[in-house]
Symmetry: C2
Subunit: 256 residues, 2 copies
């Protein structure tokens, strides 16, 4: 059996800010995007929170998460309207003033015609003191990094552009790899054998996710880890278990 080493995880949390998510109106699409990008550079998304547009809630969540994880990403609340209060909250969370960032102002002035620039739009250039801009390739108004917190837009296309731009700043570990063994067996049939495989491979995380497809129950047995040889050994063990129980394992390779 391959040597099972465990390295300290580099961890991250996502703070989703916005009443529109909690009301059920808008379905968050940023978590899966961020998670997959982080997997690729060996950073593990370990927690996510969704909070409303309420100052105290945002400040408390930012401070709880930044103390606990290597990186924190926030999405939402950095636009020009009254309900966009994220930057004020981040400044208060860090105990620093909120300042108009000259380079951010310059980018907005370049993007908007002179008669379009107003106080509301200039609010998007407010950055907590010490913040380092994150480029916005879509609508120009930048996000920023302060300490280990990255403050990003909520609109997925803009958020995604910002994430692509900030990724080189992150220091990750070994990329997360995954294997999925799908079969038409029931979870309850597999459970005992699967636990035995999990116990043999503590460095591999094994999850069991049932699905119902065309009135047929099935299960995706997902193995995640950073050491490929070990992951493949454990995957072979799960596939063998499925065959022993009369199933037909179908193995796919991924990163989630």
């Amino acid at each position: 059996m391959t040597q099972q080493t465990s390295q300290p995880d580099v961890t991250a949390a996502l703070l989703i800010i916005g009443n529109e998510i909690l009301s059920g109106r808008t379905k968050d699409a940023n978590l899966p995007f961020l998670a997959e990008k982080l997997n690729g550079i060996g950073v593990r998304l370990r927690e996510a929170r969704v909070v409303p547009d309420i100052e105290a809630e945002i400040i408390d969540a930012v401070n709880a998460l930044r103390a606990r994880y290597d990186y924190v990403f926030t999405t939402g609340g950095i636009g020009p309207t009254h309900d966009d209060i994220t930057s004020e909250c981040i400044a208060k969370a860090f105990g620093v003033p909120l300042e108009r960032h000259p380079e951010a102002v310059r980018r907005l002035q370049e993007h908007y015609q002179t008669d379009q620039i107003n106080e509301a739009r200039l609010r998007m250039a407010n950055v907590p003191a010490g913040g380092i801009l994150v480029d916005n390739p879509i609508s120009k108004a930048p996000g920023y990094q302060i300490g280990n917190v990255f403050v990003l837009a909520g609109v997925p296309m803009i958020m995604q552009g910002m994430v692509d731009n900030l990724l080189p700043r992150l220091k990750g570990g070994a990329p997360m790899l995954s294997r999925t063994v799908s079969c038409a067996l029931a979870e309850g049939t597999l459970a005992e054998g699967l636990e035995a495989v999990q116990n043999r491979y503590p460095a591999i995380e094994i999850g069991s996710y049932p699905y119902l497809r065309q009135r047929q129950y099935g299960v995706s047995l997902v193995l995640r880890g950073t050491v490929e040889t070990l992951l493949d050994e454990a995957t072979d063990a799960v596939a063998a278990l499925v065959r022993d129980l009369g199933g037909e394992p179908e193995v796919t390779v991924g990163t989630t």
Copy 2:
């Protein structure tokens, strides 16, 4: 102007349990479903958290949320496999033993053939002492309520059936109503006037959500509240603002 009364909100939180959400593999669909159902009975979803399948994380989150909100809903981790640890965690969070619930056992025995019943499946009948079952109309293994916490399945079809079954147990307030004023104006153009409307109607929550559709920017101005006359007054004010700025407001009625 209609009298603006504010009544104490009935609040809820959602705790999404599962590595598969944080890895980006599975996109949560339960939050929007729950939020909309709660809106309809006057309960506000005020926070959501996603935590991994780690005992201490689940216990801490359950205890933080149940102390703070009127209702807490958990999804995920109540199946038969080794990674399903929610019920053990809920029992520890409440400081009560985890017991095999006779009625839950009966339902599983009715659902499965005798040779299919095994220890893994019977784990799904483990309920923290004092728990009250929540019917599962799909795959029979029940969820349960303990105190103000409702423990539900993660598979959306099963979760949804459970929510429909538990709703009559909840005591809500006035249902949340919403109006959406869409137009092709930019947020930055609307911001000042929109804030003025918000200040005139503090009991109405006004959110501004930009979108990019067929290369055309637009914005959905969403008004939420429980008093319909007030909501309609504020909506008229926002629509008038849009027209004043040269836009064409399109008003739709909703609950999110």
